[in-house]
C-alpha cells in the first residue's frame, strides 16, 4: 500500500471559477452539504487530507490488527501536518480522535447514531445547568429522518426512552447478541430495560452498499463498506458535478467587513490558491473550525474571524467514557463483530444539576481479540493456544457515555509556540472536564457494577472518574445562539458576524447531551444546506 500522502501529486488542484458554494472539509457534515447543493449550484469541496484508495482497506484492516501499528497509523494521522498541543488539565489525544481525508473521521468511527433527547435542547430549563439551545427538538425531525435515510440507519422501535419518531428507521435493527441475552436476565432482575442500538451500518444491502459481513474491525476500518462513511456523500456530490479537491489545506479565509471573499489553500506542490465563492460552509470539525477562524485574523478582526463575541474556541466539550468489566465462568462469545446491539437509555432523563445524562452500552467486544493476542507474547505452538483459550472467551463489559457541561476554561486555541509543517500555529485543545461529569461517571459505574454483580461476574476493571477518557466528539467551539454577544452562529448556523458563512459541525452545539453526535451533525448539515440554497436563490 502506498501511503496516500505520496500519491496523487499530479492532480489538478486549481480553484473553480464562478463557484457558488465553497465547502471546507469532506467529512459527513461537508459531504452532506455538498451532496445536497451540487445538483443546483456550482460547489467546490476543499479537503485537507487525501482521497484514500478503497482497494487498500484490507491492508488498513491488517494495520488495525497488528501490534506494529498504532491507531492513528491506520489512516495515516499524526505527522507534522497534524501536530497539536494539549495544555489543559486533561490531556487530549487529538490524532486518535479524527481522520483527515475524503470521508473525514467517519472512516474511523464506530457508527452509533441516535437522536438527542428533547431535554438535551433545553438543559438550562429542564436540568438547571448550561444554556438552552435556540432551537428545539421539534425543529429537527424532518432533518433527522432525512439524515437517517442518508446515512442508512439500522434501528428498532423498541427503545421506550427515545424521543418521538415519525416513521421506522430505514433498516431493521441488528439482532441482539448472545451476550445481550445474558445481560437481559440480570437487567430484568434489576428493572433495567435494554433495547436495540441505531447503527449507521447496513443490516441488509442498502444504497448500493453491502450488508455487514462481520469483519469485526468496524473501528477503525470497515473493509466491506457496510459501515457508513462520508465517502458516500462526497462521491455522490462529485457525480452531480461538485469539484472535490483533496490535499487542499485551507489556511486562511480572506474577508471584508461582513463576508468571506475567498478560502486560501495550499496544495502538496507548495502552491497557494484562492477559491472564491458566494457562500462558504465551514465543515472541518470542532477543532479545526476555530483554528481556521483564528488563523484568519486581520487588522479588522484581531481576535479572529466571526469572533466578535470572543467565544470562538470556547466551551470545548467531549463525551466521557465510563465502564466496568469482568469475567464470567461461562462463554460470552465476544469479538465476533465490532459493534453494539444493545444499550439502555433508562437513566438518561433523570439528569439534573448534579448528575448529567448518560447512556449504558452492552459490549460485544469485551476482553481481548484472539488474533491480536496471538501476535504478542513469547509463546507459540500448544502453549500459545492454551494461553489464547485461557484469556479469551468469558469477558463481559458495560460501558457508558456521559455528558460534559460547557465551560469557558475548556477551549480550543492556537498553541503559542508550535507550528505545523506549513508554518501555521497548531491547535491547542485545552480540556477541562468538571465535577458534574465526574459524578455522573461514578453514578454510571454504580449501575454498571450492580449489573455485573447480578450477572455473577467477577469485576476485573473499572474506568471511573480517574481513568476516564474522551469519546472523540468535538463539540461547543462555535456555539449557536440568538444573541451575538454570547454565541458565534445564529439558529440557522450562520455566523453572526459574516453574512455568507455557515458552520456545519458539532461545534455549534451549546450543550452536548450524552448521545453520539453525528446524526445531529448530519441533520444540522442538511438544514444548513437548505439555508444556503435559500440564500443563493
Amino acid at each position: 500500500m502506498t501511503e496516500s500522502a505520496n500519491r496523487g501529486q499530479e492532480r489538478d488542484r486549481s480553484p473553480v471559477p464562478n463557484a457558488d458554494v465553497c465547502v471546507i472539509g469532506a467529512g459527513p457534515a461537508g459531504g452532506l452539504v455538498a451532496d445536497s447543493l451540487a445538483d443546483e449550484h456550482e460547489v467546490v469541496v476543499l479537503e485537507a487530507g487525501p482521497r484514500f484508495d478503497e482497494a487498500d482497506r484490507l491492508e488498513r484492516q491488517e494495520r488495525a490488527i497488528r501490534p506494529a501499528y498504532d491507531r492513528p497509523d491506520v489512516w495515516e494521522m499524526g505527522g507534522e501536518r497534524d501536530a497539536h498541543a494539549a495544555s489543559g488539565e486533561w490531556f487530549y489525544p487529538l490524532n486518535h480522535a479524527r481522520v483527515k481525508g475524503i470521508g473525514g473521521s467517519t472512516l474511523h468511527w464506530q457508527g452509533m447514531v441516535m437522536r438527542l433527547h428533547e431535554a438535551d435542547f433545553n438543559s438550562g430549563t429542564e436540568r438547571g445547568v448550561g444554556p438552552d439551545w435556540p432551537i428545539d427538538y421539534a425543529d429537527l425531525p424532518p432533518y433527522y429522518v432525512a439524515a437517517e435515510r442518508e446515512l442508512g440507519v439500522a434501528g428498532g422501535a423498541d427503545n421506550p426512552f427515545a424521543p418521538p419518531r415519525e416513521q421506522p428507521h430505514p433498516m431493521p435493527a441488528f439482532r441482539p447478541s448472545y451476550s445481550d441475552s445474558l445481560f437481559a436476565e440480570a437487567c430484568n432482575e434489576l428493572g433495567i430495560a435494554m433495547h436495540s442500538v441505531p447503527n449507521a451500518r447496513n443490516s441488509e444491502p442498502y444504497d448500493g452498499r453491502s450488508e455487514c459481513v462481520g469483519y469485526g474491525t468496524c473501528q477503525p476500518v470497515c473493509p466491506s463498506g457496510a459501515k457508513y462513511d462520508a465517502t458516500v456523500h462526497v462521491e455522490s456530490a462529485a457525480e452531480q458535478g461538485a469539484t472535490v479537491i483533496d490535499r487542499a489545506r485551507v489556511e486562511q479565509l480572506a474577508h471584508d467587513a461582513d463576508s468571506i471573499r475567498a478560502a486560501t489553500y495550499t496544495t502538496p506542490d507548495g502552491a497557494r490558491h484562492r477559491q472564491e465563492a458566494d457562500a462558504f460552509v465551514l465543515a472541518c470539525g470542532g477543532v479545526e473550525i476555530p483554528r481556521l477562524l483564528f488563523m484568519s485574523d486581520s487588522d479588522q478582526f484581531p481576535d479572529g474571524l466571526a469572533n466578535e463575541s470572543g467565544l470562538v474556541g470556547k466551551y470545548f466539550m467531549d463525551h466521557l467514557f465510563a465502564g466496568v468489566g469482568g469475567i464470567l465462568d461461562e462463554p460470552t462469545r465476544q469479538n465476533h463483530v465490532g459493534f453494539l446491539t444493545s444499550e439502555s437509555h433508562q437513566f438518561y432523563d433523570d439528569a439534573g444539576e448534579d448528575i448529567g445524562p448518560f447512556k449504558l452500552e452492552f459490549f460485544n467486544y469485551a476482553g481481548p481479540s484472539p488474533v491480536e493476542l496471538a501476535l504478542t507474547g513469547e509463546d507459540w505452538g500448544d502453549d500459545l493456544l492454551e494461553r489464547l483459550r485461557s484469556e479469551y472467551g468469558n469477558h463481559v463489559a458495560v460501558g457508558a457515555l456521559v455528558e460534559q457541561l460547557p465551560r469557558e476554561d475548556s477551549y480550543v486555541g492556537l498553541a503559542p509556540e508550535r507550528t505545523d509543517d506549513r508554518g501555521n500555529r497548531v491547535p491547542d485543545v485545552h480540556w477541562h472536564v468538571g465535577d458534574r461529569a465526574l459524578r455522573t461517571i461514578e453514578r454510571a459505574n454504580e449501575i454498571q457494577r450492580s449489573i455485573l454483580e447480578e450477572l455473577g461476574a467477577e469485576v476485573t476493571w473499572t474506568v471511573g472518574p480517574d481513568e476516564t477518557g474522551p469519546a472523540y466528539h468535538h463539540m461547543g467551539t462555535t456555539r449557536m445562539g440568538t444573541d451575538p454577544a454570547d454565541s458565534v452562529v445564529d439558529p440557522a448556523c450562520r455566523t453572526h458576524d459574516l453574512e455568507n458563512c455557515w458552520i456545519a459541525s458539532s461545534s455549534v452545539f451549546p450543550t452536548g447531551g450524552a448521545m453520539n453526535p453525528t446524526l445531529t451533525i448530519a441533520a444540522l448539515a442538511l438544514r444548513v444546506a437548505d439555508a444556503v440554497d435559500a440564500a443563493l436563490r
Binding site: E62, R66, R175, G216, R333, V371, A374, D382, L388
Partner: protein, 179 residues
C-alpha cells in the same frame, strides 16, 4: 483440526493481497543487515521454510499446514514491498540455521527449529517491519503465519470463536450461544 483451502482463502481475505505499489513497509532501505536482493530465496524455498516454521508455531492439533501455508504465501509473496520482507526473513532464518547448526532450516528436527527462532530473538521481539533483524523476522514470518492461522475460521475455532476478527464470517455467529 484440518486446515482447509477455505481457511487460506479466508486468511487472505482478512489480510488483503492488494497489489499496492512500493510502500513504507519496504525493507530494501532498512539497513545492510539483510542479504542483497539478488540472493533472496525463491518462492519454492520460501514456502518450504515457512511450512517448517509454521509447524513450530501452530498447535499440534492442526493438520494440513503445507497446503494452507503454500496457498497463503503465494498471495503474500505477490504483494510488493511485503514480499521482499518475507524473503529476507526466510534468508535470515536459513543463515542462522547453517551457521549455528550446520544444516538447512528445513532439515532440522522440530526442537532445533524452535531453538533457531528463539536464538534469533523472535520470541521476545515485538514485530516491526522496519526494526531489528529479530523484529523483522517476527513481523514478516512469525506473526504473518500466526495471523494467517488465527484470522482463519479453523484457527478461530481452536480458540472458541468461529468468526475471528478479520474474517468476514457474517452476522449469525455473534448471536449464537456456545455449542
Amino acid at each position: 483440526m484440518e486446515l482447509s483451502r477455505r481457511d487460506a482463502v479466508a486468511a487472505l481475505a482478512a489480510l488483503g493481497i492488494g497489489a499496492g505499489a512500493v510502500g513504507i513497509s519496504q525493507v530494501g532501505d532498512s539497513g545492510s543487515e539483510g542479504p542483497p536482493e539478488a540472493e533472496l530465496p525463491d518462492d519454492a524455498h520460501v514456502e518450504a521454510v515457512a511450512v517448517a516454521v509454521a509447524e513450530v508455531l501452530y498447535p499440534s492439533a492442526v493438520t494440513g499446514v503445507d497446503e494452507f501455508v503454500s496457498e497463503f504465501l503465494s498471495a503474500r509473496l505477490s504483494r510488493e514491498g511485503h514480499s521482499d520482507g518475507v524473503r529476507e526473513a526466510v534468508a535470515t532464518v536459513d543463515d542462522h540455521a547453517q551457521q549455528w547448526h550446520g544444516e538447512q532450516y528445513v532439515n532440522l528436527d522440530d526442537n532445533t527449529r524452535d531453538r533457531v527462532l528463539r536464538e534469533l530473538g523472535t520470541d521476545t521481539a515485538e514485530e516491526d517491519p522496519e526494526g531489528t533483524v529479530a523484529e523483522r523476522v517476527r513481523y514478516y514470518l512469525v506473526n504473518d503465519l500466526l495471523l494467517a492461522l488465527y484470522a482463519s475460521p479453523t484457527g478461530g475455532e481452536l480458540v472458541g470463536i468461529e468468526n475471528p476478527q478479520g474474517h468476514p464470517g457474517g452476522t449469525d455467529t455473534y448471536q449464537r450461544g456456545p455449542q
